[in-house]
Assembly symmetry: C2
Homo-oligomer: 233 residues x 2
C-alpha cells in the first residue's frame, strides 16, 4: 500500500520536527496549546475572550491557521492580541512544517503562552502533532453530543474538552449524558469545562485551567497545583 | 514535490472511477446527490426528513459515510430509509473507490434517487468527485456566515446551499448579508434554500428542488422545469 507508506513517512518526519518545536518551547518556558474543533465551534471567540482577559497577566501570542484569508487574525488583533496568520492554501490542518515558517519570527522573551488555532476540522488536525503541550478541543452544543463516537481520534487526543455555546442548550437537543457515556470509552479521563463565549459563563474555569498550565504564572499566584504533564498527541 | 504529484495521481484515478459511477447512474436513471457539510450541520436530519416525506413518491436509497460506527445509518433506518454504511476507518472524506464497494449491492431498479451523506468535514470531501450529479452542502446558522471566505473550495463546488437551523437565528449572530456578499465572489450563481429540519420550515422548497432534479418524477408531476445539469465537481 504505497499511499499508506507515504503517509506514515510524512507523519514520522512531522513528529520529528514537532519534537524540535517542543524542545524550543520548553527551553523558552512557553506553554503551547493546540486548539482544535469543527468549523464554527467558537475557537476564535474563545481566543478573543482569553486574550482580552489575560493579556495584562500573561505574555500571549496567537497563531491563526486558516485555509485562506485572515478574518480570524483580524478579530484577535481587535481583541488586543499579537498574532501571525498561517494560510494552509487548501490543506485541511496545520502541521509542524507550517509552524516552522512562523516560529522564528516570534520574540519568545515576551511570551508565556502560545495559542495555536488549527483549521476548523474535526478529523485531520488530530493526526499532526505540532509539538504543543496540550490539545484543547471545542464542541459546541448545536453540533450534537454524538460526535465522540463519530470522530474518535480528535477526542482521544484531547487534554481538555470545552463545551461551548451552552447558552444555546435550551434550543438544541444536546444530550450531555450520552456525551459522557461515549467519552468513557474513548477518553475516560478527559476533563470538561462548559462555557458560553457569548455570555461569558464558565470562562473563569477555562482561565484557571490555562493559568495552571503556565508554570511561571501558576507558581506565583495562589492557584491549584499547575502540574505540567506530557502532551498526549 | 513528490507529495503533490502523488495527490494529483490519486485524484486523477478517483475522477476516472467517478466518471464510471456517473455513467452507471445515468444508465440506470438514478439522480445521485453528494451531501456535504461540517460536522453537526444537520445532514442526517435532512435525510431523515427527506426519506420520511418522499419515500412513497420516490425510490430512495441512502449511503452513509462515517469515519466509524453506524449512528446515522440507524437514524435513517428508523425514518424508513434503505441504507448502506461506509466506514472510512479514519479517512476524512468519501471517494469513488469507497463507493465502488457499495454500489454493486444496490438494486437500481427500485431507485430514482441516491442520497450520499459524506463525512462531516468542510474541507476534504470537496476534493473527491464521487460521480454524483449534484453537490448539496449545508451550513447551519450557529456556524456563522464567515465560512465561504474561510472554506472556499466546498462552496465553489456546491450546486445548492441549504442554510439549516434557521430556528436558531434569533439566538446566534448569523449575518446573512455578509454570507451573500462573500458568495458573490466565490460562487455567484449558488442557489440557497433556508430550512429548519427541527420545525420543518423551508423543507418543502428543498423537496421541490430535489424532485425537479429527478427527470422521471419531474416529467410526470406539474413541477417547474427539472433540467438535469452537469455536476460541477
Amino acid at each position: 500500500m504505497p499511499r499508506i507508506q507515504i503517509l506514515n513517512r510524512v507523519l514520522a518526519s512531522n513528529d520529528a520536527l514537532a519534537e524540535e518545536h517542543r524542545k524550543q518551547f520548553d527551553n523558552e518556558k512557553i506553554t503551547a496549546i493546540n486548539i482544535m474543533s469543527a468549523p464554527g465551534s467558537g475557537k476564535t471567540a474563545l481566543i478573543e475572550k482569553t486574550v482580552a482577559e489575560l493579556k495584562k497577566k500573561v505574555g500571549i501570542f496567537v497563531i491563526e491557521g486558516d485555509i485562506k484569508g485572515d478574518l480570524d487574525a483580524q478579530r484577535v488583533i481587535k481583541a488586543g492580541g499579537k498574532v501571525y496568520q498561517i494560510n494552509t492554501d487548501g490543506a485541511c490542518h496545520l502541521d509542524a512544517f507550517m509552524l516552522s515558517q512562523v516560529l522564528p519570527k516570534i520574540d519568545y522573551k515576551k511570551i508565556d503562552l502560545l495559542l495555536i488555532e488549527n483549521v476548523g476540522n474535526l478529523v485531520c488536525p488530530a493526526e499532526f502533532n505540532l509539538g504543543t503541550h496540550y490539545n484543547v478541543m471545542l464542541l459546541s452544543t448545536p453540533e450534537g453530543a454524538d460526535k465522540p463516537a463519530k470522530y474518535p481520534l480528535m477526542f482521544s487526543k484531547a487534554d481538555l474538552l470545552i463545551i461551548n455555546k451552552i447558552d444555546l442548550k435550551p434550543y438544541v437537543n444536546f444530550d450531555f449524558k450520552a456525551l459522557e457515556k461515549s467519552l468513557k470509552i474513548i477518553r475516560p479521563s478527559l476533563e470538561i469545562i462548559k462555557v458560553s463565549c457569548k455570555t461569558g459563563k464558565g470562562l473563569p474555569d477555562w482561565y484557571k485551567w490555562l493559568l495552571n498550565r503556565i508554570p511561571q504564572i501558576a507558581n506565583r499566584t495562589p492557584l491549584n497545583s499547575g502540574k505540567r504533564r506530557a502532551h498526549s498527541g
